[in-house]
Symmetry: C2
Subunit: 238 residues, 2 copies
Amino acid sequence: MQKYKKNSDYSYALGTELTLQLLTDHPDRVRSVYIHSRQLDNEICRRIEALAQRHRIEVIRSDRIFNILSDKENCWILAIFDKYQADIDPVANHVVLVNPANTGNLGTIIRTSIGFGIRDIAIISPGVDIFDPRTIRASMGAFFQLRFQYFDSFADYLAKADSRPVFPFMLDGARQLDEISIPDHFSLVFGNEARGLDPIYQTYGQSVLIRHYPVIDSLNLCNAVSIALYEFTKGKIK
Amino acid sequence: MQKYKKNSDYSYALGTELTLQLLTDHPDRVRSVYIHSRQLDNEICRRIEALAQRHRIEVIRSDRIFNILSDKENCWILAIFDKYQADIDPVANHVVLVNPANTGNLGTIIRTSIGFGIRDIAIISPGVDIFDPRTIRASMGAFFQLRFQYFDSFADYLAKADSRPVFPFMLDGARQLDEISIPDHFSLVFGNEARGLDPIYQTYGQSVLIRHYPVIDSLNLCNAVSIALYEFTKGKIK
């Protein structure tokens, strides 16, 4: 085993919480679970071992594989799992990320999106690798609840999604977020962290601006997505 | 010069944009500007040199100081500046962070807060060092517009602030964010990234919940602050 690479057919769930979530949501995808000698024999560890046993997943006690981790990571349990396909549901509401570049941002967006009940994220390529262990870790396990799909172009995405209003979030959005009427069915579209959306996205739907003072260039991408998700799901979460 | 330490009486603005912002907002605080040999002689570099000259700040062409940076940082201009005091305005609206632990989060919160017109952040100790270069960098220069102050306790903070409604954001908040009536004058209070606010904060004002599905434990702190700032300043930003 070695450091994660984008073209690997497996990825890693790093840490007890992630490993537990993976074993709960996708036990059929897990190749093996590794436990470091420094891991305490605590309740969560025993739950992981019990789940692995139930699904006949090998549990390996070895410290060596943990060398794949960066120094910063405080992680004594990990799972290796096969990458899987979990295509977006064409009739669900979607978050669409155009060329997202940051693994941590993507993970945080996944967590918030799942929290607000949006289970489907479309990514317009090129975009960061959603199976990167850093993305999965930043999602804090929400990744395993997510449906996701990469598309070569926004047109390809539109061909997959059913008919719905599309809301590209742009610094020169035609209407302010707090002034639009919110439909039940929607796609929320966000650009790259540094560049935002290309002007062509003005033509793809009702462009939306989250107004802020010009003393900052733009909102952080995660924060913009969070604010949009909050406004679009307000009053609908029970 | 050496790596930044919390007890240093100076800090670093790392990168061209930050250095330019610092020279614009607080030229009197700048000790010196360093330019690496790899820095191109471009427009922003010439603006920095002109500003430094106008304020009689020494510009040093040397690569050595850049060794203080981590490998990851792509930075060819930096400025060293004296830490300064910029106490919060008692009559302004405030964001209050109780025991914030993450430098990057704090920087992003500063950026979003400034973007939504809240220029004052109170920190209840212990909390991360606001002068950490990572905080300043994550704020993307918004730091230099900020007033900030550390307090030993929430009671000390309340003694400084004028009378206003206080809104502690809590997972068991008594009312949902989209159901409260928003006053013009307020303090928004948020807990530590991992632990949130202690239950005692229920007694400090109108506790607020940002509702999400229980499939995630909580929203990311930055995202929660962003959503709250958006809702509290909605329609007021011109």
